[in-house]
Every structure is written in C-alpha cells, then in structure tokens.
C-alpha cells in the first residue's frame, strides 16, 4: 500500500453565510486507505465529503485529490475528476423512476459506449457483489432501506472508482445489514485498492474496518489516530465519544441561553 496522500486538505475553512462550519482543517488520506471521519451531528463531517467531491468550494484553503486542487477546478474539470469517484449517499439517492438494474447501469450508460449485453452482465456482477442478484427488475420503492443502500453501493462501484466516499453508510440499518455493508466496504477497499473516506457515527463498527480515524468537533480536527490508538486513548473527549457517555467535555444539550426553570415559568406569568 502506497502512503503518498491521495487526498490532502490544507487549511480549509468553510461556512454558510455567517455560520462557520469548518475552520482551518488539515488532513491527509494516503492512497488505498479506508479512513473514517467521525463527530457529532452538525460537526461538519458531511461538508468535508462535499468539499472532496467538489460539491462545495472552500472559503479558503486547498483541497487536493490525486494531485489536483478541487477548489480551483472549473465544471468540466470537476466532472472529469468525478468520473474516478463513487459516492454512497446517506439514504441511497436511487433514481426512483428507474429499476434496480437501470440504476446500477446508469453510470455505465452515461460514461461508456459498452454494448447493452455487456452492461447487463456488469450490472449482474455488481448486484451479485452486494448480494442482490435477482432484484434487477424491482423498483426502488419495493426495496427495504438496507437493500436500497446496497443497490446504491453497487451503482457507486459500477465504474470501479479510484475513490469511494461513504456518507453515513450505517444509518438506520439492522445489525445484519450493518455487518454486511461494513464487510462489503472493507472487502472492496482491499480487493480494488480503492481509497475510501467514510463519514459515520457508528464508532464500534467503523473502528473494526478502517485504517485511520479523524474526529471532527466544532469545525476542527479534534483528534486522530489508528483504531487501536483511539481505543487506548486517555483523551476525555475521545473516551466520551467512543463510549457514548452523556457526561464529558462534549455537551449533549444545545446552549439555550436561559435556564429551564425560567423557560417553564414563562407560561405561568
């Protein structure tokens, strides 16, 4: 496995209007590694994925992917960049007017001139890889959440991408589907040598499959390390996050600005 950075973010800051989401982020993801980005809700994890895919541009800083700065690409360059990339969306984002087979065939039909019988065979192979051979004629509305996620994974892998981005791939899955998807992600990373970035809340499942973890909090990289280092860390922040403790440096409640007693007594006055 090569260790030159396939993805590198240098001093990246991003915000929506006056709301700052990410501040001065630096991270390096070596080629061929499976890396997780974790953090609380609203911490800016998905924004990091959107920066890497070029869906949003940083207010300052550089986003380097495979030796090219995504932040300065024009639309044409961005589309060339995205042809080497697959992305699994949180809820699959399957095209609801297309069947399972047509969904998986979509990138093949758009970007290759392969004959239809070859596309059909490739679709069958991709669906077989995610354990869904035989679902070709089903429509997305006929699939369970886990099945839809697996079809979306097959579609994302259709062009054998160099880079895979996973946005919350484990959300809302039953334990069996979760284990299957996690196993698939790891197996595809090893078999294809794909560089993969996974945004997730699922600490335990992720630590079992990833090579490295970044923790994002308050728009900054709060901690990083290998799964073993994370498990053995003495950092109170990491301990609270990994064990899901309610008490610790990370506050669960939104900073309301007034006391609960004051809010409740407002109705009595």
């Amino acid at each position: 496995m090569s260790h030159d950075p396939y993805i590198e973010l240098r001093n990246v800051s991003f915000g929506y209007g006056k709301r700052q989401i990410l501040s001065n982020i630096n991270l390096r993801i070596p080629r061929g590694q499976l890396v997780a980005i974790m953090g609380g809700s609203g911490s800016g994890k998905t924004t990091l994925l959107r920066l890497i895919s070029g869906q949003v541009r940083p207010q300052s800083g550089e986003v380097w992917v495979d030796g090219k700065n995504v932040a300065t690409m024009n639309t044409r360059e961005l589309y060339v960049h995205r042809r080497k990339m697959g992305m699994l969306f949180q809820f699959g984002a399957l095209f609801t007017d297309l069947s399972v087979a047509d969904n998986v065939a979509f990138p093949l039909r758009e970007h290759t001139a392969l004959p239809e019988d070859m596309i059909r065979d490739l679709v069958t192979l991709k669906l077989s890889a995610v354990g869904l051979r035989g679902t070709q004629t089903l429509m997305p509305a006929e699939l369970s959440g886990g099945m839809a996620r697996r079809v979306a994974l097959a579609r994302a892998l259709a062009l054998d991408p160099e880079l895979m981005l996973y946005d919350e791939p484990f959300t809302g899955l039953d334990p069996i589907s979760l284990g299957v998807i996690a196993h698939l992600i790891k197996r595809l990373n090893l078999a294809l040598g794909t560089t993969a970035v996974m945004v997730t809340h699922d600490v335990h499942q992720s630590l079992n499959i990833v090579d490295y973890v970044y923790f994002v909090a308050h728009g900054e990289i709060a901690a990083e390390g290998t799964p073993d280092a994370v498990r053995q860390s003495d950092s109170p922040w990491l301990k609270q996050f990994v064990h899901g403790d309610p008490d610790g440096p990370v506050h669960f409640a939104y900073p309301a600005g007034t006391s609960l007693a004051d809010d409740l007594s407002q109705g009595v006055r």
Binding site: Q55, Y79, V80, R82, M87, Q90, A93, F95, F106, E110
Partner: protein, 261 residues
C-alpha cells in the same frame, strides 16, 4: 419611530430585489438549459419519454375541457348573436374565439396545472432526496439529463395540446350549434372558412401557445430546481409554479395580442 416607518419600505425593497434576482437567475437558467440541450436532441428517447408524461397524459383534460368550452361558446354565442339576427355567424365566432384567445390561454393554464406542477414536484423531490446531487457526483449534469428533456418536451407539447383544444372546442361548438340547436351545418362551416385566416388567426394562435409553452415549462423546471429541499419547500414551489404561470400567461397574452391583432 423611524424604524417602524421604514420597515414596510425595507420589506418592499427586499421583495423587489428578490424578484429581480430570481428573474435574472431564471434567465441564466434558461441559458444553461439551451447550452445543455445537446443531449436532449442526441438522445431523443429521453425527450420523447417526457413528452409522454407532459403531453400525452394531459390529453384527457385538454380534450374534455376543449369540448365543454366549445359547447359553452356555442350556447352563449348563439344567445348573443341571435339577438342581432346573426346566429349564422356562430361558426366564425366559436373558431375565432378559440384560435385567437381561448385555445392557447386555457390550454396553457391547464398545462401549467397538470404538467407544470408535476414537473416542479418531480424535480423538487429529486432534489430533496439527493437524486440530483447523486447525478452530479456521477459526473452527469442534472440540467442536461433531467431539466432539458422536460423543458423541450413541454415546449413541443404545448402548441400540439392547444391545437387539440381548438379542434375539440370547434367540435363542441358544432355539437351545440348544429346538432342541438339546429343551425345549418353548411352555414356553420362556410362562415368559419370565410372568416378564419390561416396566418393571421391560426398561426398567431399557435405562436402564442409556443410562447406560453416556453414560459410555463421554464417556470416549472426552474421552481423545481430552485425548490427548498424539504416537503414544505416542494409544496410551496409547486404552488408558485401554478400561480406564477397563470399570471405570466395572462400578462403575456395581453402583450402578444397587442402586437399580433
């Protein structure tokens, strides 16, 4: 005190700036659609598929509405014309009313309600469920793949639907005037033939419906693409499509009529 007085003006100013900004955005959006239309023409089956949803599935409402509008025109026209002893001119009245005004305007209003709202809801829901993002991440331009085929399907379907509306309306007028009331069929058709000019009446009416088709479809795809990606956002975008389309059709109709007739 000053703040209270200034507030309505500030609100009005914000509304005006927002309206101008959206108009500019819609114009740039139209430019982007035209620039990205190559795929719609090269892969014609995408546009034909959308023509089925926008045009063919609107046939029932267009045919039934056209028939009833023509029948009402026949009844009202006969009542009015017979007061002046000109009941024989019913064929010309029905045809001219439909070809010049009612056909293009009512067909466009029905098209906006039936197909325009559906386009907005579909594109808005595709946005809300990240389907447009997924397409873009797969290096497929959603304007080329989703918006342009729907736009051209609407533009092509609208004049055809207006023409069908006219045909059904004239048939409705014939049913009432000739079959129901008992006017002479030969007089009905000959009055129509001698008073309707192909270029002045028929072609101008079709040009109107083509302009309405561009306006309604642009509003529909723009509102869908610009919708806030939530249930409430898609709902209000759909409402805006119908309301804005209706106002734009009526305003454009006045301008076009002033120039054409």
């Amino acid at each position: 005190m000053f703040e209270t007085l200034a507030s309505p003006f500030r609100h009005l100013g914000a509304l005006t700036i927002n309206a101008i900004w959206r108009l500019g955005f819609a114009a740039r959006f139209l430019g982007a659609i035209v620039m990205q239309s190559g795929q719609s023409l090269l892969r014609l089956q995408m546009t034909i598929r959308e023509m089925y949803f926008a045009g063919v599935l609107s046939l029932i409402i267009i045919i039934v509405s056209g028939l009833f509008v023509g029948m009402v025109l026949g009844l009202q026209g006969y009542n009015t014309l017979s007061r002046f002893g000109s009941a024989d001119a019913l064929g010309a009245l029905v045809a001219l009313s439909l070809l010049r005004e009612l056909g293009p305007v009512l067909a466009a209003l029905l098209f906006a309600s039936r197909s325009g709202s559906a386009m907005t809801a579909e594109i808005g829901l595709m946005k809300a469920t990240e389907q447009l993002d997924a397409m873009s991440v797969m290096a497929v331009n959603p304007i080329a793949r989703v918006v342009a085929p729907r736009f051209w399907a609407g533009v092509i379907s609208m004049p055809v639907l207006a023409a069908l509306f006219n045909v059904m309306g004239i048939f409705g007028g014939y049913l009432v005037g000739v079959v129901m009331i008992g006017l002479d069929a030969g007089t009905f058709w000959s009055q129509m033939q001698s008073n309707v000019d192909l270029h002045y009446d028929v072609v101008n009416g079709l040009i109107k419906s083509l302009v309405f088709g561009v306006a309604v479809t642009l509003i529909a795809v723009f509102e869908g693409y610009d919708a806030t990606p939530t249930a409430a956002g898609v709902s209000s975008a759909t409402t805006r499509t119908v309301v804005t389309s209706a106002l734009v059709i009526l305003a454009l109709d006045f301008v076009l009529t002033a120039f054409m007739f």
